[in-house]
Symmetry: C2
Subunit: 341 residues, 2 copies
Amino acid sequence: MEVFRNEGMANHKITISDVAEALSVSKTTVSRAISGKGRIGEDTRQRVLDYIAANDYKPNVIAKGLAQKKTYNIALVIPGDCNLADMPFFQNSMQGICEEASAHDYDVMLVTTSANSSANLERMIANNKMDGVILSRSMIEDRNVYLLKEHNIPFVLMGTSGDKNILQVDNDHKSGCREMISRMLDSGLRKIGLIGGSKNYVVNRTRMRGYQEAFVRARQELDETLVFEDCDSPARIQDAVECLIRARAECIVCMDDVVCLSVLQILAKKDIAVPQQIQVASFYDSALLKNNKPAITSLGFDDKALGALTCKTLLDYIGGMEVQGKTRVDYELVTRASTLF
Amino acid sequence: MEVFRNEGMANHKITISDVAEALSVSKTTVSRAISGKGRIGEDTRQRVLDYIAANDYKPNVIAKGLAQKKTYNIALVIPGDCNLADMPFFQNSMQGICEEASAHDYDVMLVTTSANSSANLERMIANNKMDGVILSRSMIEDRNVYLLKEHNIPFVLMGTSGDKNILQVDNDHKSGCREMISRMLDSGLRKIGLIGGSKNYVVNRTRMRGYQEAFVRARQELDETLVFEDCDSPARIQDAVECLIRARAECIVCMDDVVCLSVLQILAKKDIAVPQQIQVASFYDSALLKNNKPAITSLGFDDKALGALTCKTLLDYIGGMEVQGKTRVDYELVTRASTLF
DNA sequence: CTGAAAGCGCTTACAG
DNA sequence: CTGAAAGCGCTTACAG
């Protein structure tokens, strides 16, 4: 079996002293030319800039950070054990975050937490290697929020929280869900069933509120017997679907697309045609349902944009700028063949 | 709309000078007590250790790194646009990586790349903020490998490459696939269809080799007309399934579970019973198929362990230790109700 | 407009 | 066994 050993001959990088010496100026001057801070003659500035471009000198961000007491890192906290439905969300928002951070010369450190442990976050905080953190879509009880507040570390939640004191950026789930249900009510549908995942997730509670608001606005009574929350197992979903069929629901709305996938499979097994016999829609549009026939009516969110905006908010906040306490990102209601409105 | 501004009163952290002063020893001594390097009296060592425990002093990793010319960061490169089938893989391996890194006081920086751009990785390299990088399951052509080699940056591939000069750790896909097919052949099955995703992914080529080897070992002829590669669209999968049905295949083996999910939906629509009329298995066992009825025979991999091992390999390599050039992590063949062997 | 010097918080030869 | 000093690669008052 072949074996490797690192020779450790890293490329020797050129430093600020090297360029200062080469140009017969001081390090101070070089630093100023690069940062743009402090007065400096236009011609010297240009000389420095030309030289570093030609010799592709890159300042050492670590050293810069040490001098400025900054790290140019943010941490992204994601659940280590999220369910399948959330993966596309994390995947896409991550990309938005990374790109936005990159654009501001920041890097993002990954921290995974599990429901029972914030050990990784604690270590990260202790090590002090980041200027701020992004918390992602969270549970009702969040120890991470507590930790961050206690240590006075700037953070923004990519998600929704009832706590008015924390910065939050989220997809506008409530409005989206409300609009979808409103459209259904407008089209004459009345028996609109709802099947949702765990209420421990804030996002599911928010979606529920959108559903409720639509009924209030339409001055229609909401039939509680058509609502099934906490359906976090196949068995519960099965029960819910059967109840809804018995109750002659006209439409089944699923809170996320894992639920929706299950529902579709159950309906297929029972040979119940969508949308002819029952309509189906999902509050979240992901790759999971992309290839389904019929195509599923759902809410489209731009998770990458959400990630980018969240990152921008954090960076602005770290930079001492004023930022909005609560930001909601727009959605798109995409009606497809699985519904008839 | 409420607005926030960061007051910037970060907690003032205690430094090595503070503890040196408090104990009337030199910074050198404190440093030695902590690092364990260099001679130091047992009693002074204990005094220092007690003090820092009591006042929970944590050395500043950034400063430490600067002095040692290390960063205590590794970068993890993941595709920004991976497909659904790969998400659980990334999610789980990420967790393994983060935990292993954490255990060695390393942090992991996230770098997303897209097929057409390695810009984020290039920036990361230029900034020199990591000691090494983990590349994840990759395409046949990989610009990232080229970049890393060029800059002489230690890296390991979490995946498989034909390039013998790069460190690689991967699930033992080939053996797993071979064993599954061998078991099928042993049980008397002959017409074993295969439907796979894009051949641009190394992993799919590896799986294919496992499939082929099983036939060779069993001295059975492989019927090429039952093999469908590059099925990266629903339409192609549909075609493949129909061909296999026409050819009276006894079993359909899917290279990943997104393919498998499609296949199952198609079979359901055609009212073809699994496993009675046709058996179905998948080369990858993920949450996607978890709730399917019947349960699907598949290969189980411990992606979290894979991530941890990959991280360990990189860290060992960075640390100058000898590491194995190529490591394969074991799998588990899980036979379930979707097959009859 | 420019530079010498101190400092960010550590480590590590070197000397004792 | 312990410490003074130089150094990692930057920034930034301060002085000129």
